[in-house]
């Protein structure tokens, strides 16, 4: 057989074997339950029109869905980039936010069953069982606007990650 043809066949063979692995499904889907493309708390008041501080709280929920056929255990985590800041760089402290998770589907461990303050860095949300079953969870984010919080449009972003262990 022609030497080049042999090489070509071999390459197809190797690619084919690895391609089989790459078709495995391991996917995270994240969506706001309010149907928005963001966790949007909307327009909030930090004080009454008369200047008296009022405790304003608002909640938003996010659904996380893990689809997998890897049969490997995995971790779901979130990373808050930084404190939300307005266009002038004024932050809202992360202590103004709380988050907790409820499990809709999956036999793993909910690592965030109770309300905890939001923090930067990676925080585990869910640890799957050893078989790496699919899972779905709801995260609820609460904000309690600090009194006299400066006016403006505040933004940050949260990265959700699934990774096999």
């Amino acid at each position: 057989m022609n030497r080049h043809l042999k090489t070509l066949l071999f390459c197809f063979f190797v690619i084919g074997i690895n391609a089989g692995n790459s078709y495995a499904v391991f996917r995270l889907n994240v969506e706001s339950l309010e149907g928005e493309d963001a966790i949007d708390f909307g327009r909030l008041k930090a004080m009454e029109d008369g200047g008296t501080p009022i405790p304003v709280t608002e909640s938003k929920r996010v659904r996380l869905n893990v689809t997998t056929d890897l049969n490997q255990p995995y971790i779901v985590s979130q990373m808050v980039d930084r404190e939300p800041v307005n266009t002038r760089g004024v932050p809202t402290p992360l202590s103004a936010f709380r988050v907790f998770a409820t499990l809709n589907r999956g036999s793993g461990t909910n690592r965030m069953p109770n309300r905890i303050p939001l923090s930067t860095g990676e925080t585990q949300i869910y640890l799957s069982d050893s078989a790496g079953e699919e899972a779905e969870m709801i995260l609820q984010y609460d904000i309690e606007v600090p009194p006299f919080q400066r006016a403006g449009n505040y933004r940050t972003s949260i990265t959700y990650r699934i990774v096999t262990v």
Binding site: D40, G42, F148, R150, T164, V165
Partner: protein, 191 residues
Amino acid sequence: MIYVQGLKRNDVKYFRRHPRLWRLFALISLIIVSMSAGNALAAVDTERLEMKYEIEPVRALQVQADSGTILRFGPLVPNADMTEQILSVSIATNELDAGYRIYQELPYVTSSQGNAFPKTEVLMWAEDGKEGGVSQIKSPVPAISKKKILIFVSSKKGGPDSFRIHYRVPNQSIYDAGRYLGNVRIILDAK
């Protein structure tokens, strides 16, 4: 000299004598390494979601007299001791870089019989703000005026502040007897 781990020197010599076998061995090794590398890497997927909200701007003025909402002088006796009343003014705001000015309006003070109180007989001055605002009337000036009187200018950055306005009636004139009333308006304006 290249030695393959797990092979002895004699094995390598054997493969050298049989190049086809050597190639086959290399190919199989490549396939195994390639498959192992694929499995060894952790699978990862990420999604990103923005978090956002708007805090409404509020700017509010609160004014408090010693006796509630009324500046009460009297009963007044001409040439008797000077009486003083204080208005405490506070500005609650969460706006950024939005300076403001505060004015006073007291166009007249009249009795129920229509007698005007002497304009120079009500004096006022204001203290500086606790958070950087500056009084514009640090010495007593007549408070009764048909024009707005600028009494306070915030710091450049604006923000919450508080200060006090002092009102005095020197009792240096002879007034017509009666009950005198006037409306003091404290006005908050953007710079």
